[in-house]
C-alpha cells in the first residue's frame, strides 16, 4: 500500500464514536438550542471523530507511537477544550462537580493523564486491548475537560484568576516538557507494542521505507510532539489569559475619579 492509498482507504466508521458524538450534540441542542457557540461543539466532534476514525487512528493502533501521541494530544487538549467553549457563558455547573474541581486537582488531571498513560505497562495494554483503549480515550477526554474547566468554565467566577492561569499553564508546560525530554532522549522503549508492529494493513514497507520511520525515531517524534507542539497549545492558552487580564475593565469608582 502506498501513502495515497493508505490515506484514502483507512477511514473506518466506528459506531460507538459516532453514537457518542451524536448523543453529545443531541444533549447540547436539547439543553441550549441553536446558538453560535454550537460551532465549537461541532468542531470538537469533528476533531474527535477524525482522531479516532481516520488513518491517524489506524497508525496509532499498533503502528506508530508518535501517531498515538498525537491522538493523545488531540483527545486531551483539543476536543475537551473546543467542547468547553461551546457551553454558553453563564451556564451553571452542578454544585457537586464544581466542588471536586479544585485547581490542583484539575492541573493534576491535565498533566497526570500524560504521565499515567505512558507508564510502559499501561501504554502496552492500551495498544493491545480495545477495552483498555476505550477506557483511555474516555479518561483522556474527562481529564482534559477537568484541566480546561479552570480556564474555560462557562461562568467567569468559577475560572482561575488570569495570572494564576498563566502559572497553571506554564507549570503544565514544564511538566509535559520534562516527560517529552525523557521520551526523546530515553534509550529504553516506552511502548514495546510499537517496536515490532503486526502488519495487519500491509503498510510496514510504507512506514519504514517511504516515510523513513524506525522505532527509535518514532519514539523521538512522539516525545518531541509532547515537548514542542503541546507546549505551544499551552502558550496559546496563556495568551488567552493575558487577553482576559488586560481586557478587565476599570472599576467604575476609579473611572469617575
Amino acid at each position: 500500500m502506498n501513502t495515497t492509498q493508505f490515506l484514502t482507504s483507512q477511514w473506518v466508521l466506528s459506531p460507538v464514536a459516532l453514537a457518542c458524538a451524536g448523543v453529545g450534540l443531541f444533549v447540547y441542542f436539547r439543553r441550549f438550542g441553536w446558538n453560535p457557540g454550537a460551532w465549537w461543539l461541532i468542531a470538537a466532534a469533528g476533531v474527535g471523530l477524525v482522531t479516532l476514525m481516520s488513518p491517524l487512528g489506524a497508525l496509532a493502533e499498533g503502528y506508530l507511537f508518535s501517531a498515538h501521541m498525537l491522538q493523545h494530544i488531540l483527545l486531551l487538549l483539543a476536543v475537551p477544550g473546543l467542547a468547553m467553549m461551546a457551553i454558553p457563558a453563564g451556564t451553571r455547573t452542578p454544585r457537586g462537580v464544581a466542588r471536586v474541581l479544585h485547581p490542583a486537582f484539575c492541573w493534576g488531571c491535565g498533566v497526570g493523564a500524560m504521565w499515567i498513560w505512558h507508564v510502559p505497562v499501561l501504554c502496552d495494554a492500551a495498544a493491545a486491548s480495545h477495552a483498555v483503549s476505550a477506557v483511555q480515550t474516555v479518561s483522556l477526554l474527562a481529564m482534559g475537560a477537568a484541566f480546561w474547566w479552570q480556564l474555560l468554565a462557562p461562568r467567569e467566577a468559577e475560572r482561575i484568576a488570569p495570572l494564576q492561569g498563566v502559572v497553571y499553564l506554564a507549570t503544565a508546560c514544564a511538566a509535559c516538557t520534562a516527560l517529552g525530554i525523557i521520551f526523546t532522549f530515553s534509550p529504553i522503549t516506552v511502548c514495546k507494542a510499537y517496536v515490532h508492529p503486526v502488519d495487519r494493513l500491509g503498510i510496514e514497507a510504507m512506514l519504514y521505507g517511504t516515510w523513513g520511520m524506525n522505532a527509535a525515531r518514532d519514539q523521538q517524534v512522539g516525545g518531541l510532539l509532547m515537548w514542542v507542539p503541546m507546549c505551544l497549545v499551552y502558550l496559546g492558552a496563556i495568551f488567552g489569559q493575558l487577553a482576559r487580564w488586560y481586557g478587565a475593565p476599570a472599576e467604575p469608582s476609579t473611572a469617575h475619579a
Binding site: V121, L163, L235, F239, L242, Y246, P249, A250, T254, A257
Partner: protein
C-alpha cells in the same frame, strides 16, 4: 586625590558622606548606589573585554599574522565572550534594573536591600576569580560555551577552566539573588495604584526577565557543578571515552545559553520601549502586544535551545521540531519591531542621542533578527555554523542591539542618576563613531563567513578577498573603540560640568521622573496619583488624561491587605530556581541510568533501609507543620518541641545517608567508579547538602525561639520560610528516591 576626582566626589556625595566616602559606597544597601556600582563595575570589565576584542582584531588584520600565539588567541576569545556576557551585559542590565525598578514603581527601595548588596558584590568577586587565571597565564581557552571534551582535564589541564567554572557559579548565584529581588520588589513593593497592568514596560520586561533568570541560570549551575566534579574528582559526565556524553553538555549548556540571549535582550527591549515613545511624543503603540509578546518570547526561548546544535547530528525529527519552534520566535519579536515602528509613525520625533541609538537599534536588530532566522533553516545552518556569518549575526544582536540599547539607556537616564545632562555634541559624535565602527566591523563579517572563514581561528591564509575584508573589520573596530572613549569622556565631562537637568528633562511620563535628579535617599516625597501607564502625563495634562487602565487593585500588593508576603514570595522564587537545578541533575541521572551502566548499578543500593530513613524525612515535614501551628497558637513550648523533633528526624535521615555512603565506599565504590556512582553521589550529595543547610537554618530558628524571639507579635517570618524550604527539600527527596532507588528496581516490570 587629584582635581577632577574631588570634583566627582562633590558631585555624587553630600558633605557628610564625603567624610567617610569609602564606606558610603562600599557599605551601601541603597538600590540607586548599587545600581551605579553595577554600571561602574560593568564599565571596568567592558574596557577589559574591549581590549581583548581589539587584540583579536589586530591579530586578524592581515593574513598569516603572528602578533599573538594560538593559545593566547584562544584565551582571548574565551575571555572576551565570557566577560562581555557575564560581566558587562548582565551587570548593566541588572544595574539599570536596580536603579530604575523601585523608582518606576514608586517604591522606597528593593524588597531586600542587603540581598541586593550581596548580589552586587558577587560580581567583582566572580570577575576577579575569572581574570585571576588569565593573569597567571593559565586562562581558559575553550570558548565561552566550553564545549566538552575540550573543557575536560585531558584537554585543558591548567586551572583556567576551574576558575572559569567557579567564577560563573559565583556570578550565577548573584544573578539568581537579583532575580528573586526583582520579582519580589515588583510583586510586593509597588505604590498604591501602580498595578501590574500599569507597569512601565522596562519594569515589566525586567520582571519577566527575572523569571527567565530563575529558569535558566540554575541549569547552567548544574552543568558547572558536573563539570567541576569531572575535573576535580575524576568523574566522566562529559568524557566520551569513559561513557560520558559531550552532547549532554551541549544540551544543558544551551538549555541555559539560549534563554541567556533573551535574559540580555529583554531588558534592552524594555529600555527601547521606554525611550522611543518619549522621543516620539506618543504613548507606545499597542502596550498589551509589546508586553504580551515578551511573555511569548520568554516561553519560546526556553524550548528552542537545540537550534544551536543542528551540526551535532541530532537526527531529522529534532532538527525539524527545533527549526519550526525557532522560527516561531520571529513572530513575537516581529510584533515588537512593528510596535516600535508604529510608535514612531506620525510622532513628533526628537533626535536626541538616546533616540539616535534607539533608531540604530531598530535597524541592527532587524538585521540580526533576520540572520538569526536564517540559522533556523537547518541546511543553511550546516553551511554557516561556526563561520564569521554566525559571529556577525550574534554581534548584530549583542552589540548592535543590546549594547546600543544600553548606551541609549545611559544617555536617557544619566540626567536622573547625576542631575546633569550629557553633552549632545559628544553624544552625537559617539553615535556616529559607534554606528560606522560597528557596521564596518561586523557587516563585512557576513561576507567573510559566506566566503568560508571559520570563527575561532587565530590566523588565516592569504585567500582572495579575506585580507582586505579583515582589514576593514579591524580598522572599523577602532572606530568603535574611539566611540566608546567619547562616551566615557562624555560621562566624565558631563558629571563635572554638564547642564543641570532638573526633575524631568525629557518630559517623560514614568514615575522615576517625578522625583528630583538625583533622587533623595528615600526616592519620593510624594507620588502623583497613578491611574494609567503614564502618571506624569496625567499630572501635566489634567484636562486630557490617559484612559484609566484596569481595576485599582490586583490583589498582589501588600497595601491592599490581601497581598502576598514578600518573604514568602522570595522563598517561592528561590524554590523555583532550585527546582531547575535539581531537575537538571535528575534528568542527567535518568539520561545515564535508564539503560544500566557497566559496573555497579542501582541494584547495589539498600532500598529497604533507605525507605525507613525516607519516612523519617517525610515525617519531619509533618512535624514542622505542627511546629508552625503551635507558633500560630502562640504556644512557644510546643513549637520548640516540634522543632527539636524535626531536627532530630532530619539528623536521622542524614545519618541514614551517611550509612549508605559508608557501605558503598566500603565496597570500593567511589564517585568516579562509573557513571552510576557519579550521578548517584552527585544527585544525593546535593540533596544531602540541602538537608544539612536546612538543618542549620532550623537550628538557628530553634536558638531564636529559645531566646524568646518568637514571642514578638507578629513573630519573625523565619520559621515559615524555613518550613517552605524544608518541604521543598522533602519533595525533592520524593523524586530522588523514586528515580534513584525505586525506579531501577521496577523499570523492567513497568
Amino acid at each position: 586625590m587629584n582635581e577632577p576626582g574631588e570634583a566627582v566626589m562633590e558631585a555624587v556625595l553630600d558633605p557628610a558622606q564625603r567624610e567617610h566616602y569609602q564606606l558610603a559606597w562600599l557599605s551601601t544597601v541603597d538600590h540607586k548606589r548599587l545600581g551605579i556600582l553595577y554600571i561602574l563595575t560593568a564599565t571596568v570589565f567592558f574596557v577589559a573585554g574591549g581590549l581583548e576584542a581589539l587584540t583579536m582584531r589586530l591579530q586578524l588584520a592581515v593574513p598569516n599574522n603572528h602578533l599573538v600565539a594560538p593559545d593566547t588567541y584562544n584565551m582571548l576569545f574565551t575571555m572576551h565572550g565570557t566577560t562581555m556576557i557575564f560581566l558587562v551585559v548582565m551587570p548593566l542590565v541588572f544595574g539599570f534594573g536596580n536603579y530604575l525598578i523601585p523608582l518606576q514603581i514608586g517604591a522606597r527601595d528593593m524588597a531586600f536591600p542587603r540581598l541586593n548588596a550581596f548580589s552586587f558584590w558577587l560580581i567583582p568577586f566572580g570577575g576577579i576569580l575569572l581574570h585571576f587565571s588569565l593573569l597567571i597565564g593559565q586562562g581558559p581557552a575553550m570558548g565561552w560555551f566550553a564545549y566538552s571534551p575540550l573543557n575536560e582535564t585531558p584537554y585543558q589541564s591548567q586551572l583556567g577552566v576551574d576558575y572559569w567554572d567557579v567564577s560563573l557559579l559565583v556570578l550565577g548565584i548573584g544573578s539568581v539573588g537579583t532575580a528573586i529581588n526583582f520579582i519580589t520588589t515588583v510583586l510586593c513593593m509597588r505604590a498604591p495604584g501602580m498595578t501590574l497592568r500599569r507597569l512601565p514596560l522596562f519594569t515589566w520586561m525586567s520582571f519577566l526577565n527575572s523569571f527567565l533568570v530563575l529558569a535558566a541560570i540554575p541549569v547552567l549551575n548544574a552543568a558547572l557543578v558536573m563539570l567541576l566534579i569531572d575535573r576535580q574528582l575524576d568523574t566522566h559526565f562529559f568524557l566520551p571515552a569513559e561513557g560520558g556524553s559531550p552532547i549532554l553538555w551541549q544540551h544543558i549548556f544551551w538549555a541555559f545559553g539560549h534563554p541567556e540571549v533573551y535574559i540580555m535582550v529583554l531588558p534592552a527591549f524594555g529600555m527601547i520601549s521606554e525611550i522611543i515613545p518619549v522621543f516620539s511624543r506618543k504613548p507606545i503603540f499597542g502596550y498589551e502586544f509589546v508586553a504580551g509578546s515578551t511573555v511569548a518570547i520568554m516561553f519560546l526561548s526556553l524550548g528552542v535551545w537545540a537550534h544551536h546544535m543542528f551540526t551535532v547530528g541530532m537526527g531529522r525529527p529534532m532538527d525539524v521540531f527545533f527549526a519550526a519552534s525557532s522560527m516561531l520566535i520571529a513572530i513575537p519579536t516581529g510584533v515588537k519591531v512593528l510596535n516600535w515602528s508604529a510608535t514612531l509613525y506620525k510622532g513628533r520625533i526628537r533626535l536626541n542621542t538616546p533616540m539616535l541609538y534607539c533608531l540604530a537599534f531598530l535597524v541592527h536588530f532587524l538585521c540580526g533578527g533576520i540572520t538569526g532566522i536564517s540559522h533556523a533553516i537547518v541546511p543553511l545552518d550546516w553551511q554557516t555554523h561556526n563561520s564569521y556569518y554566525l559571529v556577525a549575526h550574534f554581534h548584530y544582536v549583542a552589540v548592535g542591539s543590546i549594547l546600543f540599547a544600553l548606551i541609549a539607556a545611559l544617555h536617557y537616564w544619566f540626567p536622573k542618576m547625576s542631575g546633569r545632562m550629557m553633552s549632545e555634541k559628544l553624544g552625537k559624535l559617539s553615535f556616529w563613531l559607534m554606528v560606522i565602527g560597528f557596521n564596518g566591523t561586523f557587516l563585512i563579517q557576513h561576507f567573510l563567513g559566506l566566503a568560508g572563514m571559520g570563527r575561532r581561528i587565530y590566523t588565516y591564509p592569504d585567500l582572495p578577498g579575506w585580507g582586505w575584508m579583515n582589514m576593514v573589520s579591524t580598522v572599523s573596530a577602532f572606530f568603535m573603540a574611539a566611540g566608546a572613549i567619547v562616551i566615557l569622556w562624555n560621562v566624565v565631562v558631563s558629571l563635572l560640568s554638564g547642564r543641570v537637568a532638573g526633575d524631568n528633562p525629557w518630559e517623560a511620563w514614568t514615575l522615576e521622573w517625578a522625583t528630583t535628579s538625583p533622587p533623595p535617599e528615600e526616592n519620593f516625597d510624594a507620588l502623583p496619583p497613578i491611574r494609567s501607564r503614564r502618571p506624569m502625563w496625567d499630572d501635566a495634562n489634567p484636562d486630557r488624561p490617559d484612559p484609566v487602565v484596569g481595576p485599582e487593585h490586583d490583589g498582589m500588593q501588600k497595601e491592599s491587605g490581601s497581598g502576598i508576603d514578600k518573604h514568602f514570595c522570595a522563598m517561592l522564587a528561590f524554590v523555583v530556581s532550585e527546582t531547575g537545578f535539581f531537575g537538571t541533575l535528575i534528568l542527567a541521572f535518568l539520561y545515564f541510568n535508564l539503560a544500566p551502566q557497566p559496573g555497579p548499578t542501582a541494584q547495589v543500593l539498600d532500598l529497604g533501609r533507605t525507605l525507613f530513613f525516607s519516612v523519617c524525612l517525610f515525617a519531619s515535614s509533618f512535624t514542622i507543620w505542627r511546629c508552625e501551628k503551635a507558633l500560630h497558637r502562640g504556644n512557644i513550648g510546643m513549637m520548640v518541641m516540634w522543632l527539636t523533633l524535626t531536627i532530630t528526624l532530619g539528623l536521622t535521615f542524614i545519618a541514614g545517608q551517611g550509612l549508605e555512603y559508608g557501605n558503598l565506599m566500603g565496597n570500593g565504590m567511589r564517585i568516579g567508579t562509573n557513571l552510576f556512582t557519579t550521578t548517584f553521589f552527585t544527585l544525593t550529595g546535593f540533596h544531602g547538602i540541602h538537608v544539612i543547610v536546612g538543618l542549620l537554618m532550623l537550628m538557628i530558628v530553634l536558638g531564636l525561639a529559645m531566646a524568646g524571639d518568637f514571642r514578638l507579635k507578629p513573630p519573625p517570618a523565619a520559621l515559615a520560610m524555613v518550613s517552605v524550604y524544608w518541604h521543598f527539600v522533602d519533595v525533592v527527596w520524593v523524586l530522588v528516591l523514586t528515580v534513584a532507588y525505586i525506579l531501577p528496581h521496577f523499570v523492567n516490570h513497568l
